[in-house]
Every structure is written in structure tokens, then in C-alpha cells.
């Protein structure tokens, strides 16, 4: 197994597949990838950031899901059947990120990079941009829910291969 197995394109495909599966299966929402540059400029509402760390002997990294409050509200209503308190909305966002991370982690494992997941952390604020360093693989993709206007959300996955 060589380190070259994890390339940014693979990470993009893997994380996109994980995201689609979580939205489709858990929320019954179809999503599409946005190709325009910085679709977040059209988003006024605050963003919830959910993050889960992925750590193994040979890799470390994180998954970051950023969704507008309105979409987090909608996801909460779908999952819990109620509007949800601010705490519940944060918990739902964290759980969605956890599910996506689990899928990403499973694919990393099958590529020879076993790891464990951290517990989700959630915060509120402006859009975060993870920075790519020379030794990391980083993918960032923007998405929207089909039929729900142009409100964008974002998924970033950052993986660093630890030299053996």
C-alpha cells in the first residue's frame, strides 16, 4: 500500500459520496454540487460549523461541515419531527457530520489507513476556510439542496499522511 492512494480527487469523490448518502438516507433530501465560485456570498444567515477529527497511526485529519442556520433548522425538523431547540439543532448538525466522517473513515480504512473518529464539535460563525499545507490533502466542495433555492453549504475534508 502506498501513500499515493490518497489523492485530493479521491478525497473529493469519497466525501461527496458520503455527503450524498447521508442527506439522501437520513434526511430524504437530494443535493447537488455547486460549481460556481464562492456561492456563500449569496448566503445571509449564520453558519453552523460541525467538525469531527480522524486520527490513526498513519493519518490525521478532520471533516468540517458548514451549513446555514436555515438548513440546520430544516434538517432538525426532518430528523426529530419538531422544530428543535438551539441545542438540538447543533446536535443534529454534529450528528450529520459524524455520519459523513464515518463514511469517509471507512473508505480511508479500505485504502489501508485505519483510524478512529473524535466526537463532533459544533460552533456558529462566518465561513471557515481550512488552509492547505504542503503535507496535507484538502478538498472543499459547495453544495445545495435540490429545489431549495441557492442556499449553499460546504464540506471540507483535510487529511495529513504521517510519514512512516
Amino acid at each position: 500500500m502506498t501513500d499515493s492512494i490518497i489523492v485530493t480527487e479521491d478525497l473529493t469523490v469519497t466525501s461527496g459520496r458520503a455527503l450524498r448518502e447521508v442527506f439522501s438516507k437520513q434526511l430524504k433530501l437530494e443535493i447537488r454540487e455547486l460549481l460556481e465560485k464562492d456561492p456563500f456570498s449569496a448566503t445571509d444567515s449564520k453558519l453552523l460549523h460541525a467538525s469531527v477529527s480522524i486520527n490513526g497511526e498513519r493519518i490525521s485529519g478532520s471533516v468540517l461541515l458548514q451549513v446555514p442556520e436555515t438548513l440546520a433548522h430544516k434538517a432538525t425538523e426532518i430528523m426529530l419531527g419538531v422544530a428543535g431547540s438551539p441545542e438540538e439543532i447543533r446536535d443534529v448538525t454534529g450528528e450529520l457530520c459524524n455520519m459523513i466522517s464515518g463514511r469517509v473513515k471507512a473508505e480511508l480504512h479500505s485504502s489501508g489507513f485505519p483510524a478512529t473518529l473524535g466526537t463532533p464539535t459544533v460552533s456558529v460563525g462566518q465561513r471557515i476556510f481550512l488552509h492547505q499545507r504542503s503535507e496535507t490533502k484538502l478538498c472543499s466542495t459547495d453544495w445545495s439542496v435540490e429545489g431549495a433555492g441557492k442556499e449553499a453549504f460546504n464540506l471540507q475534508v483535510q487529511i495529513r499522511i504521517i510519514p512512516s
Binding site: 438516507k25 430528523m79 473513515k105 471507512a106 478512529t116
Partner: protein, 128 residues
């Protein structure tokens, strides 16, 4: 007597989702936020089914399972794992610990309900 189901997950979302899932049925649902609390509730309530997460703070699902298997009163309690963890090692470990079924998140509610009804009888609550 209604079957007792214990949900052990650090995610309030999952616990609420399970509460909603089992609400139409005549069963008593109990909750715990980690494996340690799960053991305490299980010892007290003797559930007929435990729906258990893997990755939790304080005590993870596998450790809770190991403690259960060493406990005379809990060692035969049926467990369904409900987790984002899907690595072959974990699946093999929990299978050795006698887990009855394994559901990975994200999941369809109907899928989990189907697996639960293979273990406990769930009758619909009479409508008012």
C-alpha cells in the same frame, strides 16, 4: 408487560430519533448518553433490547459490551449496534461479543425497526 428498549448514544439526536421511531409502539424506552450510564440503566431496568453506539465519551460501546458479557444478569441481553463506525475490525469484535445485528449510520428508520422487531414484539399502541 411492555418490552424495554435501551438506547445508548452520546448523540441526543439519535436518542430523540429512536424515541420518535418507537413512540407508536407499546414499549418502554430508556436512554443513556455513554457506556457507563448505559451499564447502570441496563443493570437497573434489565432491557429486552439495547441499541448501542460505538464511539462515545466516558465508555465506548465495545467496552460496555465487554462489561455486559461479564455480568450474569446482562450477558444474554440482545444488542443491535447503531454506529457510524464501519471498520471490519470493529464489526468482527462486536460479532465475537455476541451482537445480534449491526446498523451503520446513516440509516433508514424502517431498517432499524425491522431488525428490532426480530428481537422484541412491538404492538402498536391503541389509538385514543
Amino acid at each position: 408487560m411492555n418490552p424495554k428498549i435501551l438506547s445508548v448514544d452520546d448523540s441526543k439526536t439519535i436518542r430523540m430519533l429512536l424515541k420518535r421511531l418507537f413512540l407508536p409502539f407499546e414499549c418502554d424506552l430508556y436512554e443513556a448518553g455513554d457506556g457507563q450510564e448505559g451499564l447502570e440503566v441496563a443493570a437497573r431496568e434489565k432491557p429486552n433490547l439495547i441499541i448501542l453506539d460505538y464511539n462515545m465519551p466516558v465508555m465506548d460501546g465495545v467496552t460496555m459490551l465487554r462489561h455486559m458479557r461479564e455480568n450474569v444478569e446482562l450477558k444474554r441481553t440482545p444488542v443491535i449496534m447503531l454506529t457510524a463506525e464501519a471498520s471490519p475490525e470493529v464489526i468482527a469484535t462486536v460479532a465475537r461479543l455476541g451482537v445480534r445485528d449491526y446498523v451503520t449510520k446513516p440509516f433508514e428508520s424502517e431498517q432499524l425497526l425491522d431488525k428490532a422487531t426480530r428481537i422484541v414484539t412491538l404492538d402498536l399502541r391503541p389509538t385514543a
